[in-house]
């Protein structure tokens, strides 16, 4: 199911884990393209083609896909909650507003439970973190090949649609939290913060270096664990989706009914459009069921039928496994967003406490 006839599964995986990168290629770098090699005469800002160029760009590069998806999802979050905020009245809430208020109330409760100080920023921060990370994680539930494949048809070479599988994104947020931690530590405690770093846990001047070392490690571990935990969980989840997709991609081509159909329509390779059509058909069936136009039993039958026709027995197995993993992953997605939020609240709460 991967891009341009993947030579091997390794390539398929590598392709999936490659960000769309815009960055600066250094002077003297030799680019390899279809037309032939080209040596750059000056530093060039450009889209990277392949992992070697990305490596050459080093720090001066930006993951366009991660940023776009993360900003886009952030805007969706802002728009959704702003729309709810505009509609919020003291009257009887309904529908969408109910849902938003449920989330806000839940966050408010969590913040009140674990944050003792007075700070107007913590609750909105927690809300932003929770919903934004949840939305970013949610991208994991889109079929792994769907968006990259479509964008490839549109001419975009690489695409990673789950921003939270990018360590830059998770560490960026964790560093943001870290900056806030330092700011409030210094603002609230002042000199007390330095005292905390130097005179704790051994309250004697001779132990200052040891104390400082231990406390600094503890302090720095917080943002790292925060960012890497989210990244690790999401990356592993995405990896498993890719592996399942890969395992059954081969089988799909030899599916019972679709094998011939696929070969007739697209030749050896199963085209993304084919999968898109099937995906849309299944979505339509589910939508009809939601609108109560057809019964649930018939929905299941239709979906199964569609999947059978589309991918044959192997693909159906793959579909079921993807589906099963997706259901489990919903839990992971929510849990990780929640953990990130709770830890942020706790860290900031610790920054506000005078006595350690």
């Amino acid at each position: 199911m991967s891009g341009e006839n993947p030579a091997s599964t390794t390539e398929y995986i590598q392709h999936h884990l490659q960000n769309l990168v815009y960055g600066k290629l250094p002077e003297g770098f030799e680019r390899h393209s279809e037309v032939g090699g080209e040596v750059l005469s000056a530093d060039t800002w450009t889209m990277a083609h392949g992992a070697s160029e990305v490596a050459a760009m080093g720090f001066w590069a930006i993951h366009v896909d991660s940023m776009m998806w993360s900003i886009g999802l952030g805007i969706i979050f802002c728009w959704m909650f702003r729309a709810a905020a505009v509609r919020a009245t003291t009257g009887v809430p309904s529908g969408f507003l109910n849902f938003v208020e449920l989330v806000v109330d839940f966050i408010d409760g969590t913040v009140k439970d674990s944050f003792q100080g007075h700070n107007k920023m913590v609750a909105p921060l927690a809300l932003t973190i929770f919903v934004w990370i949840f939305l970013m994680n949610l991208m994991d539930l889109l079929p792994v090949d769907l968006v990259p494949k479509l964008l490839m048809l549109a001419g975009v070479e690489y695409q990673k649609i789950v921003p939270s599988t990018d360590p830059n994104i998770t560490m960026g947020m964790a560093l943001g939290v870290f900056v806030l931690m330092l700011y409030y530590n210094i603002k609230i405690k002042g000199v007390g913060f330095i005292k905390e770093l130097t005179m704790h846990p051994f309250n004697h001047w001779a132990f200052i270096p040891i104390n400082l070392f231990m406390e600094l490690v503890g302090l720095l571990a917080k943002p790292f664990s925060l960012g890497l935990r989210l990244f690790g969980n999401m990356y592993a989840g995405e990896m498993i989706f890719i592996l399942i997709a890969m395992m059954f991609a081969a089988g799909a081509g030899t599916g019972l009914l679709s094998g011939g159909l696929n070969a007739q329509l697209f030749g050896e390779d199963t085209s993304g459009i084919f999968w898109l059509v099937v995906f849309i058909l299944v979505c339509v069936v589910c939508w009809l069921n939601l609108k109560e136009k057809i019964s649930t039993g018939r929905t299941v039958l239709l979906t199964l039928g569609l999947l059978t026709v589309a991918g044959g027995v192997f693909a159906l197995g793959g579909g079921l496994m993807q589906w099963g993993w997706a259901i489990f992953h919903i839990l992971v997605i929510t849990l990780q967003a929640f953990i990130f939020m709770v830890l942020t609240i706790v860290y900031l709460s610790m920054a506000h406490e005078e006595d350690h």
Binding site: H63, M171, M173
Partner: protein, 156 residues
Amino acid sequence: MNINLTLFGQMVTFAIFVWFCMKFVWPVIIVAMEERQQKIADGLDAADRAMRDLEAAQNKATDQMKEAKQEAAGIVDQANKRANQIVDEAKQQAVAEGDRLKLAAEAEIEQEINRAKEELRASVAGLALAGAEKVLEASIDDKANRALVDKLASQL
């Protein structure tokens, strides 16, 4: 899988979204929710108060009802008594009237009897005289005989 500018891009984005949420989303929703909470609490209070008022009013109504019933019973009693009284009075009056009528009738009867007796006496005297006249075929001194016969008649 390398750290690059994206890191700072995300930090800035993060800051902007948190700021937006803090400025335009959170306070609005929280204020609305708190106000609604207050409103609901007030409403529940008012409902409680109304409930208590209702109970008091019901108690009052029950009391008044009892009172009214008692009053009504009293009135009915009185009316019954009065009715009995009136009936008794009427009965007594009727009896008295009857007695009076009876007495009057008796007196009249007596009078009639007396009158009849007088008449009878008068006619008996005449008849006796006429009879005697016829029997005796003699001229008798009407005056002397009449006195005699009157005396006889009064002895009847």
